[in-house]
Symmetry: C2
Subunit: 195 residues, 2 copies
């Protein structure tokens, strides 16, 4: 941020009076521009004993598999956001079954919220940001071709809970790998379970 989005003047990066953190403050009109974490919403669409995954047609992680998910929009609920993303990425209609997992990713200022969901029919197909969509049984999941640590962790928990016959709500934090191992596993992150 270089300029004030309200008046167009240059902004300064400093701690406002009474605050504890540096913010972008407009030197002209005085407005404070806060920056806050973004929410990513998505779901695990179920059909009998299979789940629907999407192969990404866009960066990051183009060509890898994920659950339908994306940035929550203003004016919608978390469940509505997850439903919209599923329609956009997989042309699939789903009914939400409840929040299943929440992951903090503080180093990129994101909070992931993934729901369990029920596919309403088999009329799905790749959306504009998806190469292909497919239903997978547990033994068919492409574990080494999943796009994100959140997705891998969520699916591991999901199948483990399913074997136990009970879906619990899970919370965790995704941390970047220590610098020494960054090169080896640039695409991997550490998951710390919290609940």
């Amino acid at each position: 941020m270089n300029f004030c989005s309200t008046c167009g003047a240059r902004v300064e990066h400093r701690v406002p009076p009474g605050d504890t953190l540096p913010r972008f403050v407009c030197a002209h009109c005085g407005i404070i521009h806060y920056e806050n974490p973004k929410i990513v919403v998505g779901c695990i669409p179920e059909w009998e004993n299979r789940i629907l995954l999407c192969r990404r047609a866009i960066e990051p992680r183009i060509g890898l598999w994920t659950v339908p998910a994306g940035f929550m929009e203003n004016g919608e609920t978390t469940a509505q956001g997850a439903q919209r993303e599923t329609l956009e990425e997989a042309n699939a209609k789903v009914e939400m079954l409840g929040l299943y997992a929440l992951f903090n990713i503080p180093h990129i200022n994101q909070v992931y919220m993934l729901f369990r969901a029920r596919l309403l029919n088999l009329d799905f197909s790749a959306g504009a940001e998806t190469l292909e969509t497919m239903l997978f049984e547990e033994h068919q999941i492409p574990w080494d071709q999943l796009a994100f640590a959140t997705v891998k962790r969520t699916l591991k928990l999901y199948f483990s809970d399913r074997r136990d016959g009970r879906f619990r709500f899970h919370m965790g934090t995704i941390e970047p790998l220590p610098t020494s191992s960054r090169r080896v596993a640039a695409d991997e992150e550490r998951v710390k379970d919290e609940q």
Copy 2:
């Protein structure tokens, strides 16, 4: 938003190619400025059979009671944010016990996440944005002087669950009052000024 925060040129409000919603787009540098919901994090601090509430020293709802809560910051987890807000507003140290309630407030683009928490000691006091802090038993809760719908709903659920001997995770959506009663609750729209 009137100006591009990157290059300072005027922005236009239009649907970018491949998108479905209007965004603020810079006519000069082409950058798209997305706007997304903000997360409010807080907790219900418990001490034996009492809970800690704060009386607000700032608008909106100055003079009314609330649980410690505020906007989540970049670089922290939801639990860390709730912990920080409790320290800032009540000078109270807490240990998080798990996510208790999530409320969508789509008409003001917010998602509330409230944890159950355990007060670590009785060394608490009003922070800069608080008039007073106090422990309340259930029958002492000032139900008609609570600041926000989310707080009232969360506390109702909390005491109901406590009677049942089992705290479940709750999710809900707060909707604006019908137009006819808007005047009474005009402050509902101002919650987003809290930061």
